[in-house]
Symmetry: C2
Subunit: 313 residues, 2 copies
């Protein structure tokens, strides 16, 4: 056994220690054990119309769009992708403990010249904000039991971490790690999906309900989170050479099936997902002397597998 | 003005928009404005006995120890540092959205050979856990008003994010971004400070009260958080060449004053810090349509300046 398991065991929960807790007499199954025992029906294959493949020089980032929460943004992003809008653009900003953001680098000048901006083509320039949506029984809702600092209720809907306010009857996606948001100017309708960011640090939940969330990174987070931080304020790169080129962005549904990744996501309304949450809330093994008894919304990993292999969280 | 301010303004709060909110009629001062108006007495110069300089090939990481919470660990780490224990060791593990961990790479073998391990010298091999301490009026306590998923009370003590349980009378440091924890084996007393980790992602608060927190990174987080993630389970590097060498670790107090960094940290019991918290809770400007009204413990940056210049969060 490795020395210094420390944080190791604690977070990834990757090791199957599962030794009996003396006081409780019950071992906590490891995530690996729980996933190994999951049923095929507990996994979903995302709709290829909602899957973006963003190819960087270092590998592929896979993003799942969330059209039930931000339908107009999903449609506009699909339009941009089909125009190959993002091909040749770049990641222009990486701010530590916050976001990696990609868009047209010409837009990042203090006084951008409209003539230099890549045209949006058939995509819309402005969109209704879509920061929240009406709660509907049509969408599944898996509540978490331990409360939240920012919202009256939190849980999961269709594979996305989300929040609800029963008083207003609204629900919204939350800025957890890996969330893909729509950057905008000051005007609430100025976001259109041509500039996107991924959360790479502590969840900045104060952004919830102030920005539209287009989806979530399913695979390839380290290709964004481990990028060099930009030296300028807000993490902008100062030298164009520092920018990370985007080779292409494609919709899975626009590729021949043979070229699509075989990606599956554990259903957030499945029994196995509920067991994973409970194991994280009350982990009992020889390492843990004090099970938390609670879990925060953005502390829960949603398991993904690619070609049958676990995507490392 | 930059296009796509989006997340930009939102998180760093770096720009002084400070335009009046129509409904409230009150602008929210920006962090820059608040810090510019701070008094010299609101800043503290950390005790050089508590400051570690960890020199990497890419730059310097500065860590402040927390001897009021983990005194035996602070003493043992000082002993190790004065023996130059860490010089020539390496960062051997970087797990995405979790930790960067440094220690003796020989300890990471599955069956480490004791003969190959660097001797601890006069440092103790085991230590009492120091996961929590008794609440004492001797230490300042700045409570936060918005609750917490994991602990009955949260706030700041002596510049560190912390939690309290009035029922047990205990308090403890929390695993927020930048926290430096003491890795250990399964036995609670098996940590000694020779293996340390820094939190580089969403705060894994389930580790609270299960591991000792030795301190916090004040400067240089991107040198840890932007490192390549290790390909092995739990983020271990597989090739020794991937390991990031530690050139040296020194105590500030062991250096001539001219070689010490001029680091100051905003007092967490200062009026300006309270104003920063309130500005983050209820940001009102032209960008924000929905002030959060709340703030989480690990969402608050504690301002640091080096030679009078702000350390980028």
């Amino acid at each position: 056994m490795r020395r210094h398991l420390a944080a190791a065991i604690a977070a990834t929960l990757a090791l199957a220690t599962a030794s009996a807790d003396a006081a409780q007499g019950k071992p906590t199954p490891s995530p690996t054990q729980l996933l190994d025992a999951s049923k095929p029906s507990e996994w979903r294959t995302p709709n290829p119309d909602n899957l973006l493949y963003m190819q960087l020089p270092t590998g592929r980032v896979v993003i799942e769009l969330a059209p039930d929460f931000t339908p107009l943004h999903a449609a506009n992003i699909r339009t941009l992708v089909r125009e190959h809008y993002f091909d040749g653009l770049s990641i222009n900003r990486v701010q530590d403990n916050f976001v990696a953001q990609w868009d047209d680098p010409a837009s990042d000048d203090d006084h951008p010249d409209p003539a230099k901006l890549r045209p949006l083509g058939k995509a819309k320039k402005t969109l209704p904000p879509e920061y929240t949506r009406a709660i509907t029984p049509r969408l599944p809702w898996t509540p978490l039991p331990d409360g939240d600092v920012y919202a009256p209720q939190v849980g999961f809907s269709e594979g996305f971490p989300a929040a609800r306010d029963p008083v207003t009857g609204r629900e919204w996606l939350t800025h957890c790690y890996g969330a893909v948001g729509v950057a905008r100017d000051v005007a609430p309708d100025s976001g259109n999906g041509s500039s996107l960011y991924a959360i790479i640090g502590q969840a900045p939940r104060n952004l919830d309900r102030n920005l539209a969330i287009a989806g979530r990174v399913l695979e390839g987070m380290p290709l964004l989170s481990a990028l060099p931080r930009g030296p300028a304020p807000m993490g902008f790169y100062t030298d164009p050479k520092q920018r990370v080129p985007i080779l292409s962005v494609r919709l899975a549904s626009d590729l021949p099936p043979a070229q699509r990744a075989d990606i599956q996501v554990l259903r957030t309304d499945s029994a196995t997902f509920a067991k994973l949450i409970e194991a994280k809330r009350n982990r009992r093994d020889s390492f843990y002397t004090h099970p938390a008894g609670k879990v925060g919304l953005c502390n829960i990993d949603i398991p993904v597998r690619d070609d049958g292999k676990p995507v490392m969280p």
